[in-house]
Amino acid sequence: MVIRTEALSKKYGKLTAVNSLNLHVEEGEVFGLLGPNGAGKTTLISMLCTILKPTSGKAWVNGFDIVRESSKVRKSIGIVFQQPSVDDLLTGRENLAMHNLLFGVQKSVRKERIDEVLSLVNLEKRADDLVNTYSGGMRRRLELARGIMHHPKILFLDEPTLGLDPQTREHIWEYIVNLAEKMSTTVMLTTHYMEEAEQLCDRIAIIDYGRIVALDSPQELKNKVAGDVVKIKQKNPDMEKIRNLDYVMKAEEKDGLLYLSIKDASKHLQDLLTHTGAIDFVEVRGGTLNDVFLYYTGREIREAEAEGGFWERVMKR
């Protein structure tokens, strides 16, 4: 177990940003914290990275207590912050060189490490340009490179693709997967993008108002509450018979169409169609984490986001 928290909490005055959280992350996992803005993701990560002191509760990172052994924790981790934090007035390479010094990377391997991570994120050509000439995506890549350069046991990524366009986002995903595999690093990332959590994570904790409301692999999360959605057009369907199939979770008729939620469509679709008899039309789509979020919180993640965004704007003043 590389990350463990016990009733970890953080309060800002009356507001409880992280509420008595219990978490375990295993070695080598890519673990996601999915939740709307203001859910407490950054606060949680900041505590695990020893930037913030918890109000109560305990946590261990790489076996070290985050409060009493903070400098050992710091040596074990790499961080990519939500806000970009590379130095604009230095070149990419200079940023990395500074990181090498700060994180005590052995002198004999420094140059080699810099070249290694630069090529991992495809920044070799721009390495000697000032960072203030980089695009948003390039800065993010540089930060990823920096975060991984001292070969940390655990890499924290706080909203790694926030504010990037969809194409750049997919590139960054590739880099993250690549890094996690090549370096066999445990990754904990936060995001409020459903696709991101789904693409990258082995397990996801859905968090809302500082609490974990659900935790499992993306597939299991969806299976448990949403399953796959099957839309069927058929004259006079036998609703009773369909509802009684054990893999059918929910069946509704609306506007002459049949909407079913079923477990693992790839396995059961064939069987389902033998029970329905002749149909005019069928469409299958996977359940989404959005369905899962909706199920547990009663809100769409987008609505929650607007709400959290508002609070964040108020709090920033």
Binding site: C49, T50, I51, S71, R74, K75, I79, F81, Q83, P84, S85, V86, D87, D88, L89, L90, E94, M98, H99, L101, L102, F103, G104, R146
Partner: protein, 252 residues
Amino acid sequence: MSEIMNELEGIYAVWLREVKIYMREKERLGSSVISPILWIFVVGSGIGSFANKIEGYPYQIFVYPGIAAMTVLFASMFYGVYIIWDRKLDFLKEVLVAPVSRASVFAGKMLGGATDAMVQAVFVLILSVFIKAPLTPLIIIEAFFMLFLISIAMVSVGLVIGANLKSPEGFSLVINFVTWPMFFFSGALFPLSTLSSGLKPLIIIDPLFYGVDALHGIILGINYFPIYIDVAVMLFFTVVAMGLGVLSFRRM
């Protein structure tokens, strides 16, 4: 042993970054060169044209050590504002989460600021040639070390203020309020004898007074206190300011 090495490299990393940025920001470098020229030639000769000789020196020469101290004072104090910008722009976060003690981060920033101020100090020492100040190589070395001591003291004060404030505007307000009185009561611009006795106690509590007094002693041979007292007081003040600086950085 490797722990110490780590801290030293941390200090070096922070210092190196400061120096690189200083070299790259042309305005900073430019103002470093221009302000001493203005002070020595415009103020020195301007006031000098209607002032009498002081202790046997023309005013432009008498005021020279004071201007050297002042150049270092302002460069050092105002350097504290960069810590606010660094925090605002999130450049500092990377350093604050590194496995390096805050004392080392402070030391790196302090040395960075002192380097910045000492570039100006060296420039002022070079300018002495043009006003025919009585400098020998030994005097130059002694003056350099005294200016360096003033610099690390004042950079520390600036960093304490910068680390405890959030806005650059607030910083300039506070720093002006601290720097100008410190400058006026330091005896940099006029001899002590011209001051009314009611103001004398203010001078005694002004740390910069001891710095300027030492420089007067080193360059012109006119002291109020013996130089070892000047140096001792400055050292004490520097240690206190550095201590406060480390504490402020720990809370950041």
